[in-house]
Every structure is written in C-alpha cells, then in structure tokens.
Amino acid sequence: MPLIKSQTAEPVTEEARKSARDCAGLVAQLADANPTARRWAARDLADCPNAAAVLLDHLKREPEVSVREVILTTLTALGDETAVAGLVDCLRSEDAALRNEAIEAMRQLPDAMAPIMRGLLADQDPDVRIFAVNILESLCHPDVETWLIEVIDCDPHVNVCGTAVDLLGEVGSMQARESLLRLKARFANEPYIRFAADLALERLRDA
C-alpha cells in the first residue's frame, strides 16, 4: 500500500508532445485531462508572451504534483516581474504544499528576489514574514545575513524572530552577536528565544 496517496507523481520519462507548439494551443493544453499534455504545455509556454500570468493562473488549481513542478521550473526560468509577484502571492495560500513549492522556487531567484526581500520581510502578515525568512535559507545572496540581523533587531513577532535566529545560527557570523544579545533581552520572557539565541551564539563562536 502506498504511504502517500495524494502525492504520487505521474512518470515523466519518455514523453511525447501531443501537438505542435503554438501559444493558443499550449494554453488550451494546460486544461487537458492528461497530465503529460499539461506538463508539455507548461514547459513549452516559456517561449510565449504572457507565459508567467497564464502559468500562475493555472498553478493554483493544478492537482498533479509533477505538473506543478514543471510550472514552477518554467516560472523560475522566466524569473520576470510577473513570475516573482505570482510566486510571492503563493505565500498567502492556505495550501501548504503550494507555499513550500513557491518558497523553493524563489530560493532559485536571488537576483529577482533581492530587490523585494525587505518588503517581504516587512509584510503585514507575520506568516508571510516567516516564509520570507524560509526563502533566505538557501538564497545565494551576500545580503542574507544583513536581512536576518534586521529581522531580529526590528520584527515584533516572536515566531518571525525565532525563525530568523534559527537560520542565523547556520549562516551567520559574529557580526550578528550584538543583535542576538539584544534579542534575548527584548524577549526575556520567551524561553524559546533565549534557547535559540544561545544556541546561535554558541554556533557562531564555534564557526
């Protein structure tokens, strides 16, 4: 019996396109009953105008994991303003799998994410700010530590700071030391923050 019934993926090897690559046809194929046809459409749409908007529109209602993966790969390759804005919008979804997939896609886009990162880290919704910190986890960008320090210095929400501290312990340097000490003082009544900050300080000392 399969353990994970809802996440079984269609095999993606040895596929053949069902029809030619005209943009209107590809958009129509995104609604095809066959996941193979939808995967091809999601791949080939990359060359079409307005591809990001079409793919984002479809992403939220696509049930097949393997098709969603191709859509996200194409969106990542596009990496344009529409694609990034749509991925950011996925962070507000109630679908945890979609959120995680969007986070993973945005981690591949350091140059596109960098200009909007501070805005995302200052979002009104603390959950979105936590997901923004999650993006930083493997975003290859020289400002990651600076952004994390700004979060623990300024963010009022304990869980946003907790998530940032966890990551600072892994990617930070002794440059974060004073901010970690200030954070402990700011959340003196939160045992988790004290624990996480002490752990991060210990890791930074040992690094």
């Binding site: 353990l3 109630e94 945890a96 995680n100 993973e104 312990g169 988790y192 624990f195 996480a196 752990l199």
Partner: protein
C-alpha cells in the same frame, strides 16, 4: 519509558522540545518532515506525536491524515504551529490532532499537555 516523536523541519525547535521532554524522562526521536515521520511510525509506533504544520515534502496535516489511516495503535498527537488563524486549528483537529498549540510553547505548557494526553499527570 514512553516514546515521543518530534516532527519539525526546524532543527532548533526539535532540539528545544527534545530537551524539555527528556528532562521529564520521555524517550524522544526526531523527524524532519511528514514522510520521515510516517516511516518511523510504521517501523515502531510512538506513544505521542508532536507535529509542526509547515514542513516540506509532507506537512503536518498530511502526516496526521496518513497516520490516522494506518492500522496502528492510534497515539495522541499535538499539532504545533506558528499560525494562529481559527481555520488552522480546525484543520488540525480534522486531520487527527488531539491538541493544537501555538509556537513558541513554554516548557510547562508543553509538559502539562503531554502528561495529560499520556495519563502521566502525577509523574
């Protein structure tokens, strides 16, 4: 010694909960996501599950739904999340959680809930 599985993708959170639970003489194991947790539970069921909601690969809701669908002794589960919207709590109970807590959980609060669920109030 009763066994508890901590399921969370954040290493610091796992370590924090482990220290609290081990101090109270529970045997603790860890999993980083729902798939790893399900594999461990199928190998050797636990007495209690402490489960985060947001995790890669298989989230907390998915893990509990799968766990509750297995032919296993149905141990209690505490779902822990950073999210505080009402529908998250409702979804947690529908998925099979017994208790829903918001992070960060203070040590006394966690131990009280664990002991209640395990019938260890006077330990």
């Amino acid at each position: 010694m009763k066994r508890i599985l901590i399921v969370d993708d954040a290493a610091t959170v796992r370590l924090y909960h482990r220290e609290i639970l081990e101090t109270a003489n529970y045997a603790v194991e860890e999993a980083m996501n729902g798939i790893e947790a399900l594999e461990k539970a199928l190998q050797s069921p636990f007495d209690l599950y402490l489960v985060d909601i947001n995790m890669p690969k298989l989230d907390g809701y998915g893990f509990l739904r799968e766990l509750r669908g297995q032919d296993l002794p149905q141990a209690p589960a505490i779902m822990i999340s950073t999210e505080a919207q009402a529908n998250d709590e409702q979804r947690a109970y529908i998925a099979g959680a017994n208790i829903y807590l918001i992070k960060p959980v203070k040590p006394d609060r966690l131990l009280t809930q664990v002991r209640l669920l395990l019938g260890d109030v006077y330990r």
